[in-house]
Symmetry: C2
Subunit: 392 residues, 2 copies
């Protein structure tokens, strides 16, 4: 497998340019947290930047619920950049002139890595609803196999937002000597009852769709589009702030008129927007993956095996931490990041915490924001300085 990256590393536009996903078939068995063993599994991934001589400048990007390995750059046949393109590239916060950046699609997802849409070798049919339940630690273990195949011994940083931050935290406990830094953005040590409630409603929306066929819709040549669209709409509202929705849509109408004496149908802009987002999502995401990964979110509880004591948990970590939260994020509120920071401090770890003002809700972790960019870039610049021997 090639670790070279064909992009111009000094691209003045700050883009990693054209990228090509790669595929790794991991031949080693992966024992999942549930006890089930995947004899082999496939991981689709992308890399940006160049691995240095000492193979010490690798950064792992962990995706959240619905994204994937395509974190930066563009494909030949698609002008849409990767989901974190604003933050990954030459001269950007995650600087591909200095770091070798790895984006991976995790197992259980639906963008080429082994998941519910893959064929179960034992049956010859798609796994569908029979795909084993997953935990964030399973993603970490699978990512570690990718790491080994890339011949990387230690990540300069493991970085992620939301569920991605959970993976970064789990890395710091499961393989403390395999990362120097964990960047935990808009994340939480465990979901609240309200978080779980929204996830459960989304799952029930999917399961209520007759085309779900108890999760075996692929065998029936059906797709539970209506249920998946609803699930996404529910999620989407919780990723946005009330304030932003007010600014962006307010009570503007897309159709009809609310003056009296009319019976014409009325549609608010926000309704149209949400319906569009739901429908778009249902065209590319897999319903079983949505159920599987929302359950993974619900089940995540960083300190469960540490007697529910996050300080005891983090005492196992050896890396440095950067924790970032966003003011209007009510899905994973700043309080959750403060809990992480408090536990890290109590465990005597090195942690930088920055609370960013943003009106973009949970989605803020994906969006341009100067202060966020400066904080992430500043922190990682120092990491690169240390790797390059510029800083102590």
């Amino acid at each position: 497998m090639s670790l070279e990256n064909s992009n111009d590393r000094r691209d003045p536009e700050g883009s990693v340019g054209h990228v090509t996903p790669q595929k790794l078939v991991v031949e080693q068995p992966l024992r999942l947290a549930c006890g089930i063993v995947l004899p082999t599994h496939t991981l689709v991934y992308e890399t940006y930047g160049t691995l240095n001589q000492s193979r010490s400048n690798a950064v792992l990007i962990c995706h959240a619920l619905s994204s994937n390995h395509h974190a930066a750059g563009v494909y030949e046949d698609d002008s849409k950049p990767g989901w974190w393109d604003h933050y990954i590239g030459p001269g950007k916060a995650i600087d591909t002139n200095r770091f070798f950046v790895v984006g991976v699609n995790n197992i259980g997802s639906c963008f080429g890595s082994t998941g519910p849409t893959s064929v179960n070798p034992e049956t010859g049919d798609p796994w569908g609803a029979n795909f084993p339940p997953l935990r964030a630690r399973d993603w970490v273990e699978s990512q570690k196999l990718l790491m080994e195949s890339l011949n990387i011994d230690c990540w300069a940083a493991v970085i992620g937002g939301s569920l991605g931050g959970m993976q970064a935290m789990r890395w710091s406990l499961e393989h403390p000597d395999k990362l120097l830094n964990a960047v935990v953005i808009a994340s939480s040590m465990k979901l609240t009852a309200q978080n779980i409630a929204f996830n459960e409603i989304a799952r029930r929306a999917i399961k209520s769709d007759p085309d779900f066929c108890d999760g075996h819709y692929l065998l029936e040549d059906k797709v539970p589009l209506r249920g998946l669209a609803l699930a996404r709409m529910i999620g989407h509202v919780t990723y946005l702030s009330d304030e932003l929705m007010g600014q962006k849509f307010g009570r503007d109408l897309r159709m009809g008129d609310l003056i009296q004496g009319k019976t014409d149908p009325v549609e608010f802009q926000i309704e149209s927007y949400l319906n569009y987002q739901g429908d778009k999502f249902s065209d590319f995401f897999d319903a079983n993956s949505y159920i599987l990964i929302t359950k993974m979110l619900d089940y995540f509880d960083l300190a469960r095996e540490y007697n529910h004591d996050p300080v005891a948990a983090f005492s196992h970590a050896m890396c440095n931490f950067l924790v970032i939260s966003f003011s209007s994020d009510w899905r994973f509120s700043p309080s959750r990041s403060q809990e992480i920071t408090d536990a890290l401090i109590a465990a005597g770890k090195s942690v930088s915490y920055i609370a960013i003002d943003s009106e973009h809700g949970h989605d803020a972790f994906l969006l341009p924001n100067q202060r966020y960019q400066d904080a992430l870039g500043g922190y990682l610049s120092r990491v690169a300085d240390q790797l390059e021997g510029v800083a102590p």
Copy 2:
């Protein structure tokens, strides 16, 4: 029609005791805001307490999205008290020893008053999805016809929470000389984009259910139970606060175990609770009513006809106002009540505003709370004193 109430008016238990719903067939045509005329319509209502000689002590209770005329007391065959029984009764905040209290099920709803499940006399079939779109003002006009049939000239107070508060505000503008007081609880002058978003997801959940049959499920002998349950689950989460859900359910499991090495299904208590609430609701509420009334909520905009100026709107009001909000209510946050209060003050109206600390979210307006009870009771006690000539 009898205005007498057979209850013991000095019931030491503070209950209005057994109650019986009454039915009024309004023979006068009702022109709806959309322009459509209902030639006749039926209203189901209940009364508690006794109308005084001067017919001046009548209080109207306006229900919200999913409730009805049964606000207090119990039916012979059902031990479950009315939805506001804690606040209505002899010696209670809305004191039936002093007030004649009227609870009415509004048109478009599904508890006996004319609505989508009623037969459209023009077709002989249930109205279903063809029931005309409604506005809060239509409920007010219909309530005014009930008022006239009861031979009441002026309400001592019109009281309501949530959508009920919208009716109270609308009463104050449409018929300023027909009420002395408006009590507006956990309400808003208009919904935010986020409010509308949640309502639209609920509506789409209903419409996505194949048993919805484009709203004509009654003709097909079907009921969109799955969609309606989902709609209720979405609503329900937004009525509760994050904090309360954390206290009440946390991450407790109802089934299964999250330790590693298990593949058994896991269910959180909050999942079980929500699913139960959804299923229970779908057994008694009508899907078309849910769509109709959530749209009524979305369309409500107190100051639309007053050049979007709430001060100009409220300048038409003649009654006194009591406005109440609850700290953890994120569906109709205290800011919304403050906006109402600010506009009333700017319009030179008499307004008392009380912000109640509560962890119960939007649902707080339905639940026992000493400070809330004292505020409502204190305000209304003074209203009764004035009616009875005890206070100036």
